[in-house]
């Protein structure tokens, strides 16, 4: 089993290197869902309830959080073979707190998870060479957020500020347009949007002080998109409303694609990035 894992991981690293990506991921190959390594580190109750992950045919075990007093975060540390600089993907505190099975006060839980679980996790992966944290935040876009929850969310994100670490809050599985004005005020390095669902023109022009991540490769569709249209779109964004910095990625996780299809998508992402870098200045 371990040999198969090593082989798969080596192959995945090779794909990223050949594509010319700037940050490297371990592909979360050992993670059974986005919460599992952290949820299992919370103990003693193991997550059991199986819940559909948004509108996909993928399911996660709802985390059971009985205590955040002594979490183990070692499960999120990337394998030593992953090249540097590394990107590590973690659940955003908002999504984490909402996906948890039961909680009397989800905003308190969000704060606790951020301070006691995610912050130690970020420190741990930073010590192991991760300089970019990709926070997955589909819940906010897909289900929405109450007005009263923005401030607790902002406070939770503020606790994740760790020297030397850039944090991207990637909002996907929906249109980020209606939330964008508030998203750009959150204390993170960059806001990620899902371009499959979002009109870039609807994001307004007030984003010069915030970096932007464009989820421009469709992680749920096996059709390989031509690079030219995406590059043209990136160019338009850079010219009309340049962000502080620009990151490119798929619009969501690539786990919905078979490995070979996912590899082709990563190669296409690299191709898009290479072309865009030659044309765009941000």
């Amino acid at each position: 089993m371990d040999a198969a894992y090593r082989e798969d991981l080596a192959g995945w690293i090779r794909v990223q290197q050949e594509a010319g990506l700037d940050y490297f991921s371990d592909g979360l190959f050992r993670w059974q869902d986005i919460f599992r390594p952290l949820a299992e580190g919370l103990g003693p109750k193991k997550p059991e309830e199986l819940v559909r992950w948004f509108d996909t045919n993928t399911f996660f075990r709802a985390p059971e959080v009985t205590s955040v007093d002594s979490p183990s975060v070692s499960g999120v540390i990337p394998d030593a073979s992953v090249p540097r600089p590394r990107v590590v993907t973690l659940p955003s505190p908002y999504t984490f707190s909402r996906a948890t099975r039961q909680a009397a006060n989800r905003n308190q839980l969000m704060k606790d998870l951020a301070e006691r679980v995610l912050r130690p996790a970020i420190h741990a992966v930073h010590d192991e060479g991760a300089s970019l944290i990709h926070l997955e935040e589909p819940w906010l876009i897909y289900y929405g957020i109450d007005n009263a929850d923005w401030k607790p969310f902002e406070d939770a994100l503020a606790t994740l500020d760790v020297d030397g670490v850039k944090i991207i809050l990637h909002c996907y599985f929906g249109d980020a347009g209606p939330y964008f004005d508030r998203l750009v005020k959150l204390p993170v390095t960059a806001i990620g949007v899902d371009l499959i669902e979002t009109d870039i023109d609807q994001l307004g022009k007030r984003r010069s002080d915030k970096a932007l991540l464009l989820g421009c490769i469709d992680g749920r569709n096996s059709v390989l998109e031509p690079a030219a249209g995406i590059v043209e779109l990136i160019q338009r964004i850079a010219e009309t409303a340049p962000p502080a910095d620009l990151y490119l990625s798929s619009n969501c996780e690539l786990q919905y694609l078979p490995t070979q299809v996912a590899a082709n998508k990563v190669r296409r992402l690299g191709e898009v990035a290479q072309k865009a870098k030659g044309l765009v200045k941000v």
Partner: protein, 391 residues
């Protein structure tokens, strides 16, 4: 169509899949069988009193297997699974889908218009092979007739044929034919509109050109109860009308008992859309996964079953296939826990003839030992409920 089993209160059945025994998997894959495989075949044959199981043991020692021998081993596997369900005391049985590769792959393998693309994760470390639609969809060959005809010849209990529904097949497939426009320069709303229109064509083509002809073929060989499995039905909350349309397009005008199986969803989403499924005589729905393991028949004791009130109020008054076994856990529900889940449902419906009792979903992720114990406790729990209800 009225079946003798239709009005039976607290009728019990499995949903579909069971794990495949090691001897069946290895024999079919051409892998060597070892001592534990022979012992598994022997011990379950003995335990389930499978007639002439010694013939299987003899056959398993004759590797390598020719094509017809592999088919024969598959039929043995069907017979074992059938006997497991009958031995557990179920009223309605099938063969745990022993002759199929998997619920999605089996259907698209027998369809024209699809190409395999590779494996993707469903949950934990469970994967399924996903295909893409690339050409017009049609039925390649009826894909449940052979297994059904065999099972008719050996079953003692009534049969129910599970078959994968059109919406789920579409949802679990990639679309490389109906919606191939990936131009992000178009407004997102326009892209979304095109995607939805394409999706509708895709789903209804599967219903009309693949699932319905296969169902018709089953009816022609004598099937009387067909369960349309739709685990993907609520994946896209804004497509529930499409799911309903696909069910209706599949069964409209056909004479049989039709039911559907739904699982692992927020079931509230199905209402009111499923009110239009008037030909659906039973909704088999998983609830135990969301429920407490404590005993009790009050609302607070049964948090996983609160939504059943909506099923009760469906205008066509279908039965509810009440999922009482969590199929993603080795926890063995006690007969008393099953009893209380059933009694709670009977109390809500005020009509035991509208309550059927089932696992949450197919038991293929559990070992046979666990599946058997769960099913036996399920029927024991139903017996306790009958006793209490005096029916």
């Amino acid at each position: 169509m009225n079946l003798a089993i239709d009005p039976k209160p607290l009728l019990t059945h499995e949903i579909g899949s069971l794990d495949k025994p090691g001897w069946r998997v290895k024999a079919y894959a051409g892998q060597p069988l070892a001592g534990p495989d022979f012992e598994e075949a022997r011990s379950w044959g003995e335990r389930l009193q499978v007639p002439e199981y010694e013939r299987l043991l003899d056959l398993l020692h004759r590797a390598p297997f020719a094509k017809e021998q592999k088919s024969e081993i598959q039929r043995w596997s069907s017979l074992y699974a059938l006997r497991l369900e009958e031995s557990a005391g179920l009223d309605v049985v099938y063969d745990g889908e022993q002759q199929r590769t998997e619920m999605y792959d089996w259907a698209v393998t027998h369809a024209n218009g699809f190409e395999r693309r590779g494996s993707v994760r469903a949950f934990d470390n469970k994967y399924y092979t996903k295909a893409a639609v690339v050409a017009p969809i049609s039925l390649g060959a009826p894909f449940h007739n052979a297994e059904f005809s065999y099972l008719v010849s050996v079953a003692e209990a009534e049969l129910k044929v599970p078959t994968t529904g059109a919406y789920t097949i579409a949802d679990w497939s990639f679309d490389e034919r109906y919606d191939t426009d990936t131009d992000l320069r178009e407004p997102a709303a326009e892209r979304r509109r095109k995607r939805k229109a394409a999706r509708r064509d895709f789903v209804l083509d599967i219903a009309r050109n693949l699932i319905r002809p296969n169902v018709q073929a089953l009816l022609n060989v004598g099937a009387r109860w067909i369960q349309i499995d739709e685990p993907g039905a609520s994946t896209e909350p804004d497509e529930l009308d499409l799911f309903v349309d696909s069910f209706n397009a599949t069964v409209e005008g056909l004479d049989a008992m039709f039911s559907t199986h739904l699982c692992f969803s927020d079931y509230n989403l199905f209402f009111p859309a499923i009110e239009r499924m008037s030909q659906c005589r039973q909704f088999a729905v998983g609830f135990a996964n969301y429920d407490s393991r404590e005993l009790g028949t009050t609302d607070s004791a049964r948090p996983g079953y609160q939504v059943i009130k909506k099923f009760r109020d469906l205008p066509s008054r279908p039965a509810l296939g009440l999922g009482v076994l969590d199929i993603h856990s080795d926890f063995i529900e006690s007969p008393e826990l099953v009893r209380d889940r059933v009694l709670y449902a009977v109390k809500v419906f005020d009509d035991p003839s509208r309550i059927h009792v089932t696992p949450d979903c197919g038991l293929r992720t559990r070992s046979w030992q666990v599946a058997y114990e769960k099913l036996r406790n399920m029927t024991a729990g139903v017996a306790l409920a009958r006793e209490q209800l005096r029916i």
